[in-house]
């Protein structure tokens, strides 16, 4: 079942088109929304929340139409903006408590849920101190807490790992995973980095320039875009080992791409790995390395030509 259903959503600003005929279904669970800077991620979230109007197109969030039921949507959703939004002179406890009330919780419930939610995000004694003195990690947790405090059915998290160090990022990603698995709340989470959301998300939507590049379950996406990287060596001392291997692999219907001494080969099936190994050794070459290339966002965004291809692939599979 879809939590969010988007049809032909377009958003034009005076000078840029932020979203261009975007249509996509977001399933329950954790959905990653991935795109480079300016891809339109934040714009999409703001439209879904009714904060900014769409130029054309429609969408429903948990069954409510963005044009006619924005208030109902805002009741069901928790929103964590990408930018800083915490007054430095307030404490986390009073700030989250106030926002709980703004979500419609009665005073006692707001107090109780504030205490619980701050504990769930890992804020203890420091919740009574002014937020101006918090680390980025603590600020991000408070921002997450205010999105969860009214026990929404779904949360929109806009770049929750922004500005965090690797440890902080891992903690935040674990926490996001738990928001779904333990709290039972669906999540839409944005990031620049596909690799980052790969671990956390059940499903990934990739957008670029306001258009849909692909929408896949995480399992599918990784197996399809999974690339092996290999490096070969001629035991006889030949210098064109890489080129020899590339030709041989191409003859076996693989699509190797050379980059310096490295060859990148997209995985097309479960036997790709074995095929590469056998082909290379049949040429009398040694394999220095053959491993999975942890794909980065660049790989999916690729050059414009490659982009068209992968978008097409996404629809076919």
């Amino acid at each position: 079942m879809s939590t969010i259903s988007i049809q032909g959503l377009t958003k034009r600003y005076p000078r840029v088109t932020a979203l261009e005929g975007l249509s996509v279904e977001v399933p329950e669970g954790v959905c990653g929304l991935v795109g480079a800077n300016g891809a339109g991620k934040s714009t999409l979230i703001k439209i879904l929340l009714g904060l900014t109007p769409a130029t054309s197109g429609t969408a429903t969030v948990l069954g409510d139409d963005i044009h006619t039921a924005a208030t109902a949507i805002r009741r069901n959703i928790g929103y964590m903006p990408e930018h800083d939004c915490l007054p430095p002179d307030a404490s986390a406890a009073e700030f989250v408590m106030h926002l709980a009330r703004m979500s419609g919780l009665p005073v006692d419930a707001a107090r109780q849920r504030t205490a619980d939610t701050l504990r769930h995000v890992g804020m203890y004694e420091e919740r009574y101190r002014p937020m101006g003195g918090y680390s980025t990690g603590m600020k991000q947790r408070v921002k997450l807490a205010q999105a969860l405090v009214h026990d929404p059915r779904m949360v929109f998290l806009d770049e929750p790992t922004n500005g965090l160090d690797p440890t902080g990022r891992d903690e935040m990603l674990d926490l996001i995973r738990k928001v779904h698995t333990r709290f039972g709340i669906s999540v839409l989470v944005t990031s620049h980095l596909l690799g980052e959301l790969e671990r956390t998300s059940d499903h990934v939507v990739v957008i670029d320039g306001g258009r849909l590049l692909r929408s896949e379950s995480t399992g599918n996406l990784t197996s399809q875009t999974h690339t092996l990287v290999l490096e070969v060596l001629d035991p006889a001392g030949g210098t064109d080992a890489t080129e020899t291997a590339r030709k041989a692999l191409a003859e076996r219907d693989l699509s190797p791409r050379a980059s310096g001494d490295l060859l990148y080969v997209p995985v097309t099936g479960p036997d790709t790995f074995d095929l590469i190994r056998d082909t290379v050794s049949a040429q009398g070459l040694g394999l220095v390395r053959l491993q999975r290339d942890r794909h980065r966002i660049a790989e999916i965004f690729g050059e414009p030509a490659a982009r068209e291809g992968s978008a097409g692939d996404g629809d076919d599979h």
């Binding site: 208030t71 903006p81 930018h83 939004c85 926002l99 419609g104 919780l105 995000v121 890992g122 903690e171």
Partner: protein, 307 residues
């Protein structure tokens, strides 16, 4: 309640059984009232730190204390031949202490709205059930109520004092009501002007300074023009000079509606209430200023809510 303790990857995040909330959720009206209440309390520093309480209560004291003193002095004055006379009319009091509501507004309007703008907190409000219009109304209503309490409190002190001194109760009650009705105009204009200025000055200090400058500058200009018109044109003409500032508009309206002498007429000349044309113009000006600032305020927040 199930308590799961899971040794997660990090020790920092404990996973103590999440509980869903299935209690009541209040509607927009109640959320509005919650924001209104928070704003009103905030104008007197309630729910904020000790430092935030000092200034509003100092101002409150400095407007209520003179009222007590007036009552105390009044007890020492024997009634004149035409019966007892109030030392200061209820309607005249607010103009005498006009700096106090001005300072209150200048300190509390930025407190109520500038912080949310400056620290980008507004998206957190607007992604919740309240609309930006609800937000503006709740903030404005909270500031207006705070200001209203500040200006009405000393009048109540004087009124109760007058009753204890056995001034005629019917007469006093009418005077009080007339003064309070007139104050509605002042509070409305002040609140809208102050909130509008605060909404375009995310830096709080700047907002405070701008509000003081606008209120005191316009007041000086208005009294100056009134004096000029009164001396060189005619006494009734001086009422038109009052159009320049909210305090003098309020004062003129009060004189026009209830026939009291405006406080700001030059002391040497016997004060005259504005004529029909001037009086109606002052009324229209009060309504226009209030409505215009409110419209601009809504436009401002409409823009903010979409960015």
């Amino acid at each position: 309640m199930a308590t799961t303790t899971e040794p997660g990857k990090t020790g920092a995040i404990h996973n103590i059984g999440y509980r869903r909330y299935d209690g009541p959720r209040l509607g927009r009206r109640d959320i509005f009232l919650a924001l209104y209440g928070q704003t009103l309390k905030g104008t007197f520093g309630i729910g904020r730190g000790l430092g935030a309480k000092i200034f509003p209560w100092l101002l409150f004291g400095s407007t209520v204390l003179p009222a007590f003193i007036l009552v105390a002095v009044q007890t020492q004055i024997p009634p004149g031949p035409e019966g007892p006379q109030l030392l200061v009319e209820f309607g005249a009091y607010t103009v005498m202490v006009q700096a106090v509501p001005s300072l209150f507004l200048a300190s509390q309007a930025p407190q109520a709205v500038s912080r949310d703008l400056r620290f980008h907190t507004l998206p957190l409000y607007f992604s919740r059930p309240l609309s930006y219009v609800d937000y503006v109304r709740a903030r404005v209503a909270g500031i207006a109520t705070g200001l209203g309490i500040l200006v009405a409190a000393p009048l109540l002190v004087m009124y109760i004092g007058a009753l204890l001194l056995e001034f005629p109760i019917g007469d006093m009650t009418l005077k009080l009501l007339a003064a309070l009705v007139s104050l509605v105009f002042l509070v409305a204009m002040f609140t809208m002007i102050g909130t509008l200025i605060a909404s375009v000055t995310p830096r709080r200090g700047l907002g405070v300074a701008a509000i003081i400058a606008v209120l005191s500058g316009s007041y000086m200009a208005a009294t100056f023009l009134q004096a000029l018109l009164g001396s060189f044109v005619s006494e009734p003409a001086s009422a038109w000079g009052g159009l320049l500032s909210p305090i003098t508009i309020y004062d003129g309206i009060q004189a026009f509606l209830f026939g009291w002498s405006p406080v700001d007429a030059a002391p040497s000349t016997p004060a005259v209430a504005p004529g029909a044309a001037a009086g109606l113009t002052l009324l229209a000006a009060a309504v226009a200023i209030t409505a215009l600032c409110y419209r601009l305020l809504l436009l401002r927040y409409r823009k903010v809510s979409r960015s």
